[in-house]
């Protein structure tokens, strides 16, 4: 509890307090230039985007949508090279070994920050890489089945879990040091409840486990379960975010439920090697930040609940977000007794 309070007062993630609830309709592009001259003819061929996850998951889809948007804008093709495995480390290693000439870009998620927090020999996405844009930022929620009879809101859920003596279950991706595992530590520390986390690395079995009653609750981000929310199968009972997003105005936040920790966000973005030529980096920053504003990309983000809070961070905003996350993860890992290198 003490640690959680310390973190809550000491570390603030960038943009948390200033997050604008833009929504799809109120979107305003923050990049004014519609075009930018190619520096020295760069790029004169297709870019390669290394994606450390499979094509069908959240990263694969955001990579596809951003590649499409950038190509629409610049007429430069982007070939996606999926290198899944090792929680993103395989793709990251392959990327760092590729030429730092600006032709190779990387898609990655907050796992890159948590991996560096645990082991500083792994690339720091805020220093070894230059974030071109963070294009998806989202929060997590706790979900239950809509037809659940044992509990129907957060308070009754906590009371029920406490009565089970540690036998209640929640599905998530609870790999060592993951955002989900750390967030669940915050929640269980703050509420005093004991709950068994069941780790599913793929979405379908995870959602199926809740739907079929194999687990009692689910930890997930709203965009990933949008179809189950639309169909009425799942309902959120807790939003892990400092304020209630308009789309979930009737769902209490963890702060309202007396939990005083700074929520960890899930974020996906695009990077280039910090050693790439500066003029090329500048062009890429423009292309990806302006690509974010393309109608096709905005439509994609809307369809994924990614405009519920401000999903956009330019390079500086992304660095602040990443550095804050690394600091926060590192402190939590130490408190969990994990070997931080």
């Amino acid at each position: 509890m003490k640690l959680v309070k310390t973190i809550a007062t000491g570390v603030l993630l960038a943009g948390m307090s200033t997050a604008s609830f833009a929504g799809g309709h109120g979107f305003k592009c923050k990049v004014s230039e519609d075009s930018m001259a190619k520096p020295g003819g760069f790029p004169d061929r297709a870019l390669t985007m290394i994606v450390p996850y499979g094509p069908a998951g959240g990263s694969g889809q955001v990579a596809s949508a951003m590649a499409k948007a950038v190509t629409e804008l610049t007429s430069v093709d982007i070939n996606r090279d999926h290198k899944p495995g090792g929680s993103g480390t395989v793709g990251m290693t392959a990327y760092m070994a590729s030429p730092a000439d600006g032709y190779n870009v990387l898609e990655h998620i907050d796992d890159a920050s948590s991996a560096h927090a645990l082991d500083s020999s792994k690339p720091n996405p805020g220093k070894d890489l230059i974030p071109l844009v963070i294009s998806q930022v989202t929060f997590s929620q706790i979900y239950i089945r809509s037809n659940e009879t044992r509990y129907n809101d957060w308070k009754s859920f906590v009371a029920w879990v406490k009565k089970q003596g540690g036998k209640a279950t929640i599905a998530n991706v609870s790999k060592e040091g993951s955002m989900e595992r750390v967030s669940m530590k915050f929640i269980t520390d703050a509420t005093g409840m004991k709950i068994q986390q069941i780790s599913f690395d793929k979405g379908a079995p995870r959602y199926g486990a809740l739907m079929g009653g194999q687990v009692d609750a689910l930890f997930e981000q709203p965009g990933d379960v949008k179809k189950f929310l639309d169909s009425g199968d799942f309902k959120p009972i807790l939003t892990i975010f400092n304020e209630r997003p308009k789309a979930f105005a009737d769902v209490p936040t963890h702060v309202e439920m007396g939990m005083k920790f700074t929520p960890l966000l899930r974020f996906r973005g695009f990077y280039v090697n910090a050693k790439a030529p500066a003029d090329r980096v500048k062009w890429l920053q423009w292309a990806f930040q302006r690509g974010y504003c393309q109608d096709s990309y905005q439509k994609f983000n809307d369809s994924k609940f990614m405009s519920v809070i401000d999903s956009y961070r330019d390079t500086d905003g992304a660095k602040t977000l990443i550095n804050g996350a690394i600091k926060q993860y590192r402190e939590v890992y130490k408190s969990m007794g994990m070997a931080v290198k």
Binding site: P55, G86, S87, T89, V90, Q196, G208, F228, S231
Partner: protein, 500 residues
Amino acid sequence: MIENFLAGSSALFGDPITILIFVFGVIGGMLFGAIPGVSMLTLAAILLPFSAGLEPAQGVMLFAVIYCTGTYGGAITAILFNIPGAPENAPTAFDGYPMTKQGRAGKAVGAAVLCSAIGGTASALLMMAATEPLAKWAIRNIGPPEIFALVFFGLAVASSVGGNTIWKGWMSVLLGLLVATIGQDPVGGINRYNFGMTDLAAGIAFVPAILGFFAVSEIFIQAEKRAFGKYNAPKLDVNFPTFLELWRYKIAVIRSILVGFFCGILPGIGATLAAFMGYGEAVRWSKNKEAFGKGNLEGVISSETANNAATGAAMIPLLALGLPGGALTAIMVAVFQFHDMEPGPLVFYNSPELIWVVFAAMFYANVSILFIGLIETKTILQLLRIPFHFLAPMILMLASIGSYIGRGLVLDVIVMFLAGMIGFLLRRSGYSIPGIVLGIILGKIGEQNFAQGMQMVHYDLVAYLSRPICALLILAGAITLGTGVYRALASNRTGANQNQ
């Protein structure tokens, strides 16, 4: 149902563009399925961006058709060259390739064509009849403990295939299970046996291992025979099995349809487990277990019926619940999303016409496997005429590309050649290559579900076994295992007495 099916058929064949897309999917799936290492997934990944320009029903239908015909396509190379086009065709090679070596390739390919069509069509019919209730039943009753129990049962049943003795069969399976533990553990994400190599943290991929153990080791064996003047080219045979020959296996076909369909409706499992389970059940119920792995037509029939029976079934959790059953159905989720749709219960209410076009297309795709498959088979069998010194480098090249293309890692090509060398040595010693592959593929699925299941029951084995389906499958697996050990010991004793 019949009215909806007719409406779907009418929409499918009433528009020339839709017909063209259907034909493209049928032929494309078969071709990509048949080229070693380059699977239907490769075609699906290439086509994904283009699907945005199609009508929603056309886009989803195209991928569903590729799924049906691609699952069949990999059987051809598995039978002719010991190169399964995809993991779900691996059990087909167990008996299919020995049949080719015995000059019975025509019968094996003919049976694969017919049984893929039967399995897929039956599955499509079951899918049309009962998508929603079946999906809901599976999701409520089958969780990680049951899936682990199913894997355990499958391993117990099929472990005896291919080894000289039951002990060598089990040693092979255990080696496969050991290989499956390389990489991050599926629950905690802890690295194991990667020796500091990042690429190994992602584990050993199925495709390079399969290509190495089957195709590369076979090339080494044939090269050795050639070097010592013992090489005999496979005899070309274009005789398909007769109706009476196939009728003998009707029970095996029905059993494999049921097994394949059951495996197919489990989210995240799909056709691979179906093929292994179908094959394993054929072994279990056979009076002549020793014949499997040595060119038994029933092995080909069971595997190919089961993997295609899983295709229709895998659409059930996808369409009814929005839960993809495997990699290709996961890509289909993206196709839905390109068109601002989400697969799940609402699709049945919002877009029933789309659902029935897809159902009808899958039905006709499976039927067309029979006709197109039989026509192409006579041509494909001519590949056996290619001399070994041309064929072997071609296979090695295709296998290397196929190994690399999945994850873009040189490691996978190295793994393929290592697996080839290990397979070459183990096959000479009477160990089972199918057993190793079985261990690698089922080991990963089994370990993940075992760990999840144990977490769910709070590491209480009694609670684990109190789940009826789980207990039944584990009991059946244990009995199978016990019976096998008893028979092996009894056989050893008889042999010893005879020697005295």
